[in-house]
Chain length 255, copies 2
């Protein structure tokens, strides 16, 4: 394939999803919805069975109409991939073709690298039931197969689009794998935790909870470990100070 489009590649920074001979409008709409959830918006359709536009696709898109409105229709796979430098083809089966088969995760990384180099990238998805033919598959550089339960592999085309698109967005930069939900606070410092523990220890000493001298070191260490493990926020440390203060005071009044 020609490299002449390199200079224009900055306008195509995400892969194009190409649905080959899709049958059900619902699946086209659900595929569009899955795409937009994952930051993809370039859709091509090769010979959709029920013509185009398709009201059933619109209904199933649940607000992802922008993807359907911009969708381009082609008569053949060859025409749909003509301007692309890299094509990945999804397949559910082993085939007689000698083709490199990658997972969606690997494909996402490779597509990011290709796009960074300025290549235009497309991903082919086959029709319901039959999938892509060998004639379709040979239009691709790389085959993509989603590793599933060998005893039950039955994804519809919209689900396949969702998983491949999800790996695309998950492979992007800046996805922290862990964070705290409450932005109004921050993790407590070790100093704050030490102060909290000292407060608790005094209160427990006064209450008689730690009166057994032989047991005391183990009990103190277990409590300290427990507090450390909870990974408290600064807000929670302050709340906990209040809890101890209140309980200790209450206890005092009871005596």
């Amino acid at each position: 394939m020609g490299r002449s489009s390199k200079g224009r590649a900055t306008t195509a920074a995400t892969p194009t999803v190409i649905l080959v001979r899709p049958q059900l409008g619902e699946n086209i709409g659900m595929a569009a919805r899955a795409m937009l959830n994952c930051g993809l918006s370039s859709l091509r359709l090769v010979a959709p069975r029920d013509g185009w536009p398709n009201p059933k696709a619109q209904r199933a898109a649940s607000g992802a109409d922008v993807v359907l409105d911009k969708a381009k229709v082609f008569a053949s796979v060859g025409e749909a991939v003509a301007d692309l430098e890299r094509v990945v083809a999804t397949t559910a089966r082993n085939r007689e073709l000698s083709q490199r088969i990658v997972t969606p995760r690997r494909a996402a990384g490779e597509m990011r690298a290709w796009i960074a180099e300025g290549d235009k990238v497309g991903i082919l998805f086959g029709p319901e039931r039959t999938g892509l033919t060998n004639d379709d598959m040979v239009q691709a550089d790389t085959a993509l197969s989603i590793p599933l339960n060998p005893q039950f592999s039955s994804l519809n085309v919209a689900q396949a689009v969702l998983l491949v698109a999800y790996e695309w967005i998950a492979s992007g930069e800046g996805t922290a794998t862990e964070r705290m939900s409450d932005h109004s606070t921050r993790p407590a410092t070790k100093d704050e935790l030490q102060n909290l523990f000292a407060h608790l220890e005094r209160a427990l000493d006064q209450s008689g909870f730690l009166r057994n001298k032989a047991m005391r070191p183990a009990m103190v260490n277990n409590l300290r470990a427990l507090l450390q493990r909870t990974a408290m926020t600064e807000q929670e440390v302050r709340s906990f100070h209040g809890v101890i203060k209140y309980l200790a005071k209450h206890k005092h009044e009871e005596e």
Copy 2:
């Protein structure tokens, strides 16, 4: 939570999916299908709106009936998680709760570690539209949020189950990220590639293609690099020998 079930944990080697107050039978069936695709089969339902069993769920399961047939129904989230040591709760939104939030990928790794230790693990999914309440969320150790397009996050519950279950199966051992589709052959050895290239070079020398002495080294190296990059199989190397042999012979006859 008690650790008394440790001894029985070998019978529960995968996480349990818990659908909380699910509304549409179709979504329950699609969730079951998504689960079985990813090797999960333990399903619990908390107060399904339309009762249980639900024929619409059966129809949407596309053969994953085994998951629905074994599904257990509970009246409350508390009862549904009572025998579990670890609970992950999926959420689409930032909440006022201070809870650790992880991605599906991180959650999959943590769930595998918990299960390896013998813990029983459940994953809560909320009802369509509203999602899990704060009262539901606090039943969980960990919140799970799927990183999606901030401008358009609109997954239905079955799609959320698919992505979380997919990360579960993808986190398992033995998923090669790349393989060849044709099991009747193997990657060519470097020796076989050298022989092939020597054959090509002889044929090209005889044909006069490499007659320009100054250009010859660069041309040879470019061809060699090209052949290396194609990552040929042994079968393809043999085919290519045939191609060269035939072309060279044909050429000879033309002269």
